[in-house]
């Protein structure tokens, strides 16, 4: 038949016309293949597949190379990356990169062929769904438990030990056991009294005593505190933004409390997952703090270039995906941001489909949604009723003002109005929002432009003509405010008029200057400005005349003079308001929900190169299609996505979480890379055991009280003999398995920073055991652009568990950070355990340790008995859970109790899990 180029070339000038308008069939063999062979096959063929692409297979072209775009979209040459790269004028993009370029005729031939459907004899059946044989993408199939009595965990472990010819250690002694299990379950050493009781019980009935101990520890509120920290590590949760200004994230700790509660209440893991992704629609709004746990660069600090602002948003989205991917999926999703994942079957389209899921999420604050049973909501209702009582008292005498921090609120007798006017008495006012409420629907802002209200005022364009009046009722808080400024002595002062769409009844007014700032951050020397503006509120009468209704001067000063008894009620209200802000529902840094844009795949990860629209979805290879499109509301996207993730058949979710629990109990996961279950991660050391645990996690047959119970899973693991083995070394076993990976012994390890600190406080009797609430601070109040500085890391206000130490990114607490405490910049699925001289200096010399050693010594004198030997014995008991040996007692001779305590706290025995 001959090559079409030759066939038409003879006619020549009409080539272009012919190809584009006249249907001459382009044949693959005759027309396309020669072009590809001449220009492409050398680098993208059977011998080499640069960028993961080969042009001699239709399937490979359909999938595209590493860039993640299909090289071939049958019917659409414009969308075919092959054509784009061939036509590109960009030297870094164009194909072929060197040598002769394709002629216009050749390119048009290819385009025509694609337009016609890219017919490729013999290869039309292969449609190119991604496949993977990687173990973690395969469904979990419950394996048979190797024959043996007792805890199935042990059956798997024993079978493997036998296969490797390893001999397991015998059980640990009771003292080591109680230290080990207490530290792992609650992060605190056992107290001496409890150790004594356990030893007694254990001698009588080892199994019963141990089971009782485990159940007691699991039901301790300290269990949730310890295990919450593990989760917070993975998602690098902190209470500041990171980046330049590293601002405090106000009330972010609500999320931390949620996690503690979830562990303590044994929230099923599938629910835990759903709430953190879609808590706004499940009545646990604060759980979405999960999504914004990572660091972020606020839009305000990336400069004015629009491309930098777009890039920053894309970076923030990437932080969300890293969090979700690493923590729940055990996948490095971020690798697919610029091109298809190099190791795992995750495409760039998958990545952007997942960004579509979180399109309505932004780093910032909101009022969390709480269901009726939520403890904060219940507490809030109680406080609200007390506020209402006080308001009743005030109402008898007239209007009043309340300071809500973010805004001021004025109350006055209800009045009907078609329009109102605020006449300010000051020449300079900044208002981001004005709200009016009435007695009918208490929370509906009648001044909102969405209700048909319109505003006008003076100066209407605002300061320098850049801050117009319509911002006061646009529903947006923050810096986009109306700035009404006139000369100091000007006759006409600023005023705002609101015209309602119909006559309404109003009885409350709210004004704020920058409410967003107040909700988002704090602890800055420049406080968010909540000025006190004096004004008169006028109401337009039916006859068109304006009548003054409320004056701030009257209700905040005059009335209080006339009725001194109001003071008490006003003070009480302010007290209740601040308590409500602490204990009730309150805005917090748990994610802001924003209007969405259509999500597109970004070529090479650049927001400047948006390509095809993508629908919200999970990973394609794991049937992540959610049947959603770009119209789907944000909460629905996230809810559907979380259902996909928490489905009991999802191959990753259960495996990843049981492995995490295993990791924290045994010191190393069955998969030793707990946040990478992809092919670059480690394979499981006990694959059958991992799958059995995953299966057991979602459909329990033995220890589990309910599906997805984390407590049940943890209980099963610590009840195993494998957990209860002695940690003594054995030269033969060490030779064969130095890392104790096969668990012939319990692998000893250094305890975490928190365990050291909390146990020291417990030993001194100073530990404040309150669970939850605002973090304790060790930092200064700083300027917006400045570093946080540690000002007090040891005073009485810090004597709480370290979980509650306010977590500022990048800040070194100058004591325990040195013990591999994460800086919350990157996902930390497991902490490295390192040994440095700074740790030694901190644990020897820090004011915290020196002070606490004094308290411990005082306690030894109070509680240890009168004889010095008994006091020393008490110290050993308290810090090491054992009595001193004779040689040790002798070594303590002539050493003060305080120094004995200091030595014990620095000893290896104190710092290592036995």
């Amino acid at each position: 038949m001959g090559n079409l180029l030759h066939r038409v070339k003879s006619g020549s000038l009409i080539t272009f016309f012919l190809l584009s308008a006249v249907a001459i069939a382009v044949e693959y063999e005759d027309d396309v293949l020669p072009i590809l062979e001449d220009h492409c096959v050398k680098c993208h063929g059977p011998d080499k597949q640069k960028a993961g692409l080969r042009v001699d297979q239709r399937l490979s072209l359909l999938r595209g190379g590493d860039a993640g775009f299909p090289s071939l979209v049958p019917g659409a040459p414009v969308k075919s990356h092959l054509i784009e790269r061939i036509r590109s004028r960009d030297a870094s993009e164009q194909m072929p990169p060197k040598g002769e370029r394709l002629s216009e005729e050749e390119v048009e031939l290819l385009e025509q062929w694609i337009r016609d459907g890219a017919e490729w004899p013999g290869q039309m059946q292969d449609l190119g769904a991604i496949q993977s044989n990687h173990w973690s993408f395969a469904a979990v199939v419950r394996p048979d438990v190797p024959a043996a009595a007792g805890n199935p965990v042990d059956s798997f472990i024993t079978a493997k030990l036998a296969a490797r010819g390893l001999t397991a250690n015998g059980p640990a002694d009771a003292r080591s056991l109680i230290r080990r299990v207490s530290t792992i379950l609650t992060g605190l050493l056992p107290e001496p009294g409890r150790v004594a009781r356990f030893l007694e019980d254990y001698a009588a009935d080892a199994e019963g005593a141990y089971m009782e101990l485990v159940d007691e520890l699991l039901s301790s509120p300290h269990f949730g505190e310890r295990w919450a920290q593990h989760w917070l590590d993975v998602i690098r949760w902190a209470e500041s933004n990171g980046s330049e200004s590293n601002l405090y994230r106000k009330n972010a700790w609500q999320y931390r409390d949620y996690v503690v509660r979830a562990f303590n209440e044994d929230r099923p893991y599938d629910k835990f997952v759903r709430e953190q992704i879609a808590g706004d629609s499940l009545g646990t709004g604060e759980a979405t703090g999960f999504l914004v746990a990572g660091p972020h660069v606020p839009a305000a600090t990336v400069g004015r270039e629009p491309s930098a602002i777009r890039q920053a948003r894309a970076d923030r989205m990437d932080e969300i995906l890293q969090t979700v991917g690493a923590s729940i999926m055990g996948m490095t999703i971020g690798c697919a941001r610029c091109h298809n994942h190099k190791f795992d079957p995750i495409t760039i389209s998958d990545y952007y489909a997942m960004t579509a899921v979180f399109q309505d999420v932004e780093f910032g604050s909101r009022f969390p949604e709480f269901d009726v049973e939520h403890p904060r909501r219940k507490r809030g209702e109680k406080l609200w009723s007390q506020i209402a009582d006080q308001r009743k008292i005030l109402r008898r005498t007239g209007g009043w003002e309340e300071n809500w921090g973010a805004y001021r609120e004025w109350h006055f007798g209800a009045v009907e109005a078609g329009a109102i006017r605020l006449r300010f008495k000051t020449p300079n006012v900044t208002i981001d929002e004005l709200q009016l409420f009435g007695p009918a629907e208490r929370s509906v802002n009648l001044a909102h432009r969405g209700r048909g209200a319109t505003v006008r005022g003076f100066p209407a364009e605002g300061n320098e003509g850049r801050n117009p009046i319509n911002r006061v009722n646009d529903g947006e808080f923050g810096t986009m405010a109306w700035r009404g400024r006139v000369e100091k002595n000007a006759q006409e002062k600023p005023w705002i008029q609101v015209d309602f769409s119909e006559r309404v009844k109003i009885d409350r007014l709210r004004l704020s200057s920058n409410r967003e700032y107040f909700f988002d951050t704090g602890y800055l020397t420049q406080k968010p400005n909540l000025p006190r503006y004096d004004f008169d509120l006028e109401v337009r009468q039916p006859d068109g005349k304006w009548k003054s209704r409320v004056g701030t001067w009257y209700i905040t000063r005059k009335l209080n003079e006339l009725h001194p008894e109001r003071k008490e009620a006003l003070a009480e209200i302010q007290k209740l308001i601040s308590r409500l802000g602490e204990e009730g529902p309150q805005p917090g840094f748990v994610g802001r929900l924003i209007p969405m844009q259509v999500t597109r795949v970004l070529h090479r990860g650049s927001p400047e190169s948006p390509r095809d629209e993508v629908a919200p979805a999970g990973l394609d290879i794991l049937k992540g299609n959610l049947d959603l499109d770009s119209e789907a509301p944000g909460s629905k996207r996230r809810a559907e996505f979380s259902s996909w993730l928490s489905d009991r058949n999802h191959p990753l979710t259960a495996r990843v979480m049981v492995n995490r629990m295993w990791h924290h109990i045994f010191g190393s996961g069955i998969v030793s890379t707990p946040s990478d279950f992809g092919s670059a991660g480690a394979p499981p050391s006990h694959p059958e055991l991992l799958d059995w645990l995953a299966a057991e996690f979602v459909s329990p047959t033995t220890y589990q009280p309910q599906a997805w119970s984390m407590k049940g899973m943890i209980r099963m693991l610590v009840m195993s003999e494998s957990f209860r083995r002695s940690s003594q070394p054995s030269p033969e076993a060490l030779d064969a398995d130095g890392g104790s990976r096969f668990l012939w012994r319990f692998p000893p390890r250094r305890v975490a920073a928190e365990v050291l600190r909390d146990s020291i406080l417990q030993a001194s009797g100073k530990l404040d055991r309150r669970v939850g609430g605002r973090s304790y601070r060790i930092h200064n109040v700083k300027k917006t652009y400045a570093q946080w500085e540690v000002v007090d890391n040891h005073g009485p206000q810090t004597w709480r568990r370290m979980l509650y130490q306010e977590r500022m990114r990048r800040v070194d607490d100058q004591i325990f950070t040195a013990f591999d405490f994460p800086d919350c910049g990157q996902v930390r699925a497991k902490r490295p355990i390192s040994t440095t001289p700074l740790q030694a200096l901190n644990l020897m010399n820090s004011p915290f340790v020196v002070e606490q050693s004094k308290f411990i010594a005082q306690r030894a004198m109070r509680e240890g008995g009168d004889a010095r030997e008994d006091q020393v014995r008490w110290l050993f008991d308290c810090l090491l859970s054992r009595a001193p040996q004779a040689g040790e007692m002798a070594a303590c001779e002539g050493v003060t109790l305080q120094l004995v305590a200091r030595s014990l706290m620095n000893s290896n025995e104190f710092g290592f899990l036995p």
Partner: protein, 477 residues
Amino acid sequence: MRNTGFSLGGLGLAHLLAAEDPDRAASSSKSPIRPPIDPDQPYAPRGGHFEGAAQQVLVIYCPGAVSHVDTFDYKPALKKFHGQKPPGLPSVTFEGPTGNIAKPFWEFKPRGQTGKMTSDLLPEMGSLADDFCFLHSLHTQTSAHPQGENFFNTGFTMEGFPSFGAWATYALGSECSELPAFVAINDPRGLARSGKNNFGCGFLPAAFQGTDFNARNPPSNLNRPASLSAADDRKTVNLLRHLNRKHLEKYPGDADLAARIASYELAGKMQTSVPEMMDLSGEPDFIQTEYGTEVGSDLKRAYARNCILARRLVEKGVRVVQLFNGSDPSGGNGITNWDSHSDILKTHAMQAEIMDQPTAALIRDLKRRGLLDRTLVVWCTEFGRMPFLQSNGTGRDHNPDTFTCMLAGAGVKKGFSYGESDEFGHKAAVDPVEVYDFNATILHLLGLDHERLSYYHNGLERRLTNVHGHVIKDVLA
């Protein structure tokens, strides 16, 4: 007074500290090379991947972005187009609308044998032109300071990645057994914008994070608390030694326990060696005069003392010394660092007064003592500044697209310039250098292949240079 600290006596053990390493067989020409780290002595000197020209590095980091067009990158076209706005220049940059081209605020003169044109802003440093290797075509990925600092010092704009110093000491340990392997000498005014991230260990073991102190402030908790006596310390240590020995008997050969005992040993040594380092009273007058510890602004004198401290640390064999010339708060009056959005004439001059004499003295001193033969000196900043002014007419905005850094000492060409920016100094034009290339080159000079110095973390072999970087062969001596 030696060994008054709490040394515990070392216990040598052959166990090696394994990196967080998945069980994967990997061996190719570019497979990772894991440094053989003895947990008992994590800072013991280790060989690199090949013989490097330099054994140590001194990094002088200038936060805030030094204006290349006002210091080392001579652009005559700026004079010609002064006050104009040629087409093609952007209308908006980091801080907002742009103004017109401005000629350098200081005169440029030829310096040294090479006649290198440098400005009167930094005459002392300029006088060392024959010793420097200038790189004029660096460019970076961001025009925000903290991300720029992160990128320069850790290879990533995001936080939480190991710093250059952490990588180098992770690979090489240190030649000095009494001092930390990696010391960050902070500016007298405090930490730079990215704070500890500039010298952090990221996901590498904490052993490799930089220890920060300067000539004024020792590392925290270095000194014995005031409430305790030397005898108290001795007693504590004796008892501790006894306890640890007994405990180790139960776990014979346990490397982690032995390492912890060894760490107390080094801590004890540091209690003596660090104050010794910080005590500059033994430095002769001519040194104090040369560095300028007695003359000039308070900040300059404090920085001069930091420079002497830097030399002393290099002398002792500390592997990486990172010396900061500038601190945190942004913008403002400009005297906290090099950031000069307004009144650059004043603010750059104030910062130059602090840096010029002491830094030049430090390099001269190192050279005189023969330390430049084994030490690489790096002078750097996160990006440059614009050849045109901001709309305020007095300051220059951030310029990520070209800027100048310098190398000197072991293994690099002297009196050499590499790469060029365009005629205005607006974008890198000839032989553009990525920060990755710059870092790859420094590692190369230390005998490390940047592609094989990696650490497995969360699914990836992480590197200082991510997946990029080429050694700039042309600057190697």
